[in-house]
Symmetry: D2
Subunit: 163 residues, 4 copies
């Protein structure tokens, strides 16, 4: 059955292959991403981008049709986390499946801050992340989310455990 | 049809009635809460409590069965927001429907900070919030989330616009 | 005596005059700024800048000669606060001394987050701030601090009560 | 000359000796602490406490006699950092001077968040910290500061690199 299929880290992958693998994983193998409709747009060591389309069941206010702040937080945390994953891979010398797996499995969010700048109105929300501090143990990412018209909706900062 | 039913703020409500109304609204009329399964346990001016049951589609890690950090952020933001709503009501003198509506509609999250202390393992996650700064313009809430065994999973702080 | 001299908000000031007045106040009339040596470089509604010179009594580590994190936090909070003050003035229609005073006296920091990116090494530290959310009740500023060589030492975000 | 005297980590120290050494270091050998008057009250693996007396040169507002927010941030960062240092020592098996030194020298603040709850009025401000997340790489501390009357002035959270 489809949902028991697992994706595999193969031997002899290049860094580019591993980034594709991570993109695939965040896109198709994280059940919460599927639930709320997160799509992965791009991933590279400098910048990661995800998006989400507005849906009636993502609304957080019964009067106004605006995105629930938790959806914003979810999208920003995931985008920052994927940027941290790309950053981990970019720093690896040993690309054996075991080493990739060991390094990615250590990744976790330590803390997250979201600044909500405007109400989340729009049909589409695009989030991007870049790493502002990289180290052997922690990485810090800054994220921003805007709607399809380019209005800045929210900014975020997150600290990730990476080693 | 059921989904077009709206809940009404009635005349001559006591503060207790309004808190019940808010509980009802957060429980049944926020579509994102229904999507991820947020339940409201209690609301009063001192403390608000919500919970969520673990489900396979709330998982944020394809290897480990742990709650997505965005679900934690969503639950903590909602619990803090409901505590701020209760606090707004508690400070109102005029309980006319118009005044209640006007005051609740101003409520919005300005910023949210989450500290993830332990991986989100468990069958049930319970979040509570209390107001640590109350004012005419902003309220600050502190939140905590633990699992059914009592392990502290995450702490949060949020600043809300209330006036 | 000098220390009892007060600076005065005069009648018929232009917005530019008021910004000069605020610059003067932050430069010469805040005793903590004098204690640690904060200098005001520039202030306008888009951007505020302050700096501090390294001194042996600002060191926060007995082994390494690096700036105490509290000095960084102080500089970033003050720079963001001055940007918020400029923003308040820029939005005023009534520039009577009473109205200026009433509006500036409401200014206060609600919350502050600092991300320390690199150890605070250098002879000079320059901080700048810009307002990312402006409103009648709260303003949010983002700040950055770099040393004289241009190394980014810290980033900050602060929420200010402005109304 | 006195200011070139260094304090020494000696051989055969017990954990209690090392905590006394850290207390001494934070009290007498951090020049910024001397500049603003930070005093160390107590240190143990569960809780650290520092205090500062109000002085006219710590004032951050030319109109109201309230503590500069940067002083609050400095005191909270230092108290949390000292708690993290105590926590590092408490987890060490090897108490050789080299190992103590190596572990303490890695300690650094990754991020710091302060919530300002009330204006900083009072003659004395007391800050305490406790570790809410401890690990091999990062520790998270929560801090609170109240004045001599017991009014809660500010709360803080900080993430420290510890390994």
């Amino acid at each position: 059955m489809k949902h028991t299929q697992t994706i595999m880290i193969k031997d002899n992958m290049t860094k580019e292959d591993v980034l594709k693998f991570i993109k695939e994983m965040y896109q198709h193998h994280l059940s919460f991403h599927r639930l709320i409709g997160i799509q992965v747009n791009s991933i590279n060591p400098e910048r990661a981008e995800m998006q989400i389309k507005m849906r009636s069941d993502l609304v957080g206010n019964p009067i106004f049709q605006i995105l629930h702040g938790g959806v914003t937080a979810s999208l920003l945390d995931s985008t920052g986390g994927m940027a941290a994953a790309a950053n981990i891979i970019n720093r690896l010398d040993d690309l054996s499946p075991e080493n990739i797996q060991r390094n990615l499995s250590k990744l976790g969010t330590i803390d997250l801050r979201i600044d909500y700048l405007r109400p989340g109105r729009g049909d589409l929300f695009i989030a991007s992340a870049r790493i502002i501090r990289q180290g052997n143990k922690v990485a810090v990412a800054r994220m921003e989310m805007h709607n399809g018209k380019g209005d800045e909706i929210a900014l975020g900062t997150a600290t990730y455990l990476v080693g």
